[in-house]
């Protein structure tokens, strides 16, 4: 057992830090968009930054070199993810989904042509895909999706409705799950497609999120014709591909590192703030709660490290990723709640007031953290996975 990073890894961490210090644009720092607060401007900044990351090979560092990656070790990827998140780098959720879900699925199931076409673009940051998974009646029960794709000649014709499609209005393509065999059982008859978002027949309706930003969309597909070659993998076997791609790499280390930063800011705040003539840092309740957050975040970090370590040993985690995800999502919510309690009325203030503290991060997080633990498989679904896959409890 050894909890140390190697000298080489530590040097890599320093290199990443130096690079981020140089490359994160001031405008991004000024905008300080939290999760789900992206705007068109911040999206553009993020795309530019991601291309720079791509040039370094750090956008998709795990990919094989022939596809624009570095085949970086799991530990260095862990370090990179930690530093990107801790330093609040201009990244977007869709970018991470593109690199970590879509790319690996193409690598596993795509044709040679698809690999050559998409993977280098993904690794360079030249293409971002949004997810076309959820539907109005297919949320946690994703396998009940109804959007149809019918093979007609050299094309597929798509009809149906997707929802919660984050950044669909800004993404280049959609990674779409559609039903190709309506008569097959639920998990059979689903296929995966890449759909250019500019294809005629696609219309979007914005869904304004709880932070009052346009991040999600309803996406309507009306007789959308796409080339047959945009099918990824085996027809009708999309469900299994989708599940495997979901497992690819979810260490959630980024969340733990990002949350670490918030906790550090809270600690700094209570050290610097006096209330009723007493430093907040002397309040035993506040000390207790902040200490607990530090404890929990460390537990979360160890859970994430464990996943990276399993990968590095060639072991494929399954329920361990769910544990890590559930745990950090709940720590983040508690961080926001405890932050609110510590800041009191000041925690309620949004940005743009002279009274604002911590750039309103806590009030924003109070809202945004609601999504962690819902999106990408709710915590209830994750707990089912832990119970059934991890502990072998019966389904029926």
């Amino acid at each position: 057992m050894d909890f140390r990073f190697t000298q080489d890894e530590e040097a890599f961490r320093q290199e990443v830090r130096r690079w981020l210090k140089q490359e994160i644009p001031q405008r991004w720092i000024d905008l300080d968009p939290g999760i789900w607060e992206e705007t068109e401007e911040s999206w553009a900044l993020a795309r530019e930054f991601q291309r720079k990351l791509g040039q370094k090979g750090w956008l998709a560092p795990a990919y094989p070199k022939e596809y624009g990656g570095l085949e970086l070790s799991h530990m260095k990827r862990l370090i990179l993810s930690e530093e990107l998140a801790y330093n609040r780098s201009p990244m977007s959720i869709e970018e991470e989904i593109t690199v970590n879900w879509v790319g690996p699925a193409i690598m596993l199931f795509g044709t040679e042509k698809q690999k050559k076409e998409y993977l280098p673009k993904i690794a360079r940051g030249d293409i971002v895909l949004c997810l076309g998974y959820s539907e109005p009646n297919a949320g946690s029960d994703l396998a009940s999706l109804q959007t149809r794709a019918v093979e007609v000649g050299d094309e597929y014709v798509i009809n149906g409705q997707k929802t919660w499609c984050s950044y669909g209005h800004l993404a280049d393509c959609c990674w779409l799950a559609a039903r190709t065999d309506p008569d097959a059982s639920r998990h059979e008859g689903i296929s995966i497609f890449i759909v250019d978002m500019k294809t005629p027949g696609i219309t979007l309706r914005p869904l304004i999120n709880i932070l009052d930003r346009h991040s999600f969309n309803e996406v309507f597909f009306d007789d959308v014709h796409i080339p047959r070659e945009n099918l990824v993998g085996q027809k009708d076997k999309g469900w299994y591909q989708l599940v495997m791609a979901l497992d690819f790499e979810r260490s959630s280390i980024g969340y733990a590192a990002g949350n670490q930063r918030v906790i550090e800011e809270l600690i700094k705040y209570v050290k610097a703030t006096t209330r009723n003539g007493e430093p907040l840092a002397n309040d035993p309740l506040i000390r207790n709660e902040l200490a607990q957050l530090v404890v929990e975040n460390e537990v979360a970090r160890m859970m994430a490290y464990r996943i990276a370590w399993m990968f590095s040993k060639g072991v494929h985690p399954s329920h361990e990723s769910s544990m890590s995800m559930v745990f950090i999502s709940e720590v983040m919510r508690r961080t926001a709640n405890i932050g609110m309690r510590i800041l009191g009325h000041y925690g309620e203030l949004d940005r743009d007031s002279k009274w604002t503290v911590m750039n309103a991060r806590i009030m924003r997080m109070c809202l945004s953290a609601l999504s962690i633990g819902v999106g990408g498989g709710s915590n209830e679904i994750q707990r089912n996975i832990i119970a059934i896959r991890g502990l072998g409890l019966p389904r029926k």
Partner: protein, 377 residues
Amino acid sequence: MDLGLNEEQEMLRESARDFLRRECPKQLVRRLDESDEGYSVELWRRMAELGWMGLIFPEEYGGSGRNFLDLAILLEEMGYNIVPGPFFSTVVLGGLTILAAGSEEHKEEFLPKIASGEMILSSALTEPSASYDAASVKTEAKARNGEYVINGTKLFVLNANVADYILCVARTSKTKNPEEGITVFLVGARSPGLKCTLLKTLARDKQCEVVFDNVTVSKESIVGKRDGGWPIVKDVLQKATVAKCAEMVGGAQAALDMAVSYAKERVQFGRPIGSFQAIQHYCANMAMDVGGSRFVTYKAAWKVSEGLPAVLDAAIAKAWVSEAYARVALSAHQIFGAIGFTMDHDIHLYYRQAKAAEIIFGGADFHRAVVASELGL
């Protein structure tokens, strides 16, 4: 970074698990819990033969020269099985103190006997104030004619009733800083004036009141230096805290395993209760608590093992594991329902262990206070 066990550690774990499954069945655990001595001479001897008591001592003192992490792994297995007896007080509290701070004579005299299972140790730190800080040490040791005379009452002293020697933490000088003026003495448990009374406790874990009434010891019985005892105590408390966490991780794993296996078998409404989401989610939470506990504990144990500063990591581990084990044991009870509420069932053995372990060496609040200080709050 490597979060795995090496081959030797895997072997240690496997052999400990095997041995305890065979040699320490729950009938024995119950019998020992109910007895006054709280340990089995036969089991103790066999554990010594396996080299467990001397695991962490250097070979020159009859040990196997393994490290603290190895000891933590053994303790995890002991916690999994619940091994009643004075192992913790003898090896961790006593042995590690002597190893770290004892004179060469102490080491030569005590360590081989501990390793061979001939000697049982106990450590008397806490007093009626029931806390782990230096200011709470009121027991006095006064120098007289080249000897020391100890007076005071120690409380919650583990296994003093069967100990051959008791490490007594006493005040030798009155100083402004309570951490100064403390000395650690090795006191023969059958010294005149020493009176040990067994306390009845929740975990039936043989905690004692030990009264020192003019107990006289030689100056050679001082471990370390006169008035220099607190750093020794602090050092061993840190190790004991982490060692206890390791034991707790094992216990929590056992409670989880028992509950999961029951949930798979117990049928209600025509289906195993483990197929109900409510039960599944209890189990998932328990698994998260166990998994989370294990790796913060290993990290702290690794730091202690490597001789790195571990104040923060030990406090994080104990703050987390204390509450996590308690939650796991409680959820296990909920899953077992009424059958768990009987003396016949085994799960209460773990619940009792969890409660005692939560408190010893400071509970979660105590360790969160340490974390807060370490963060500069």
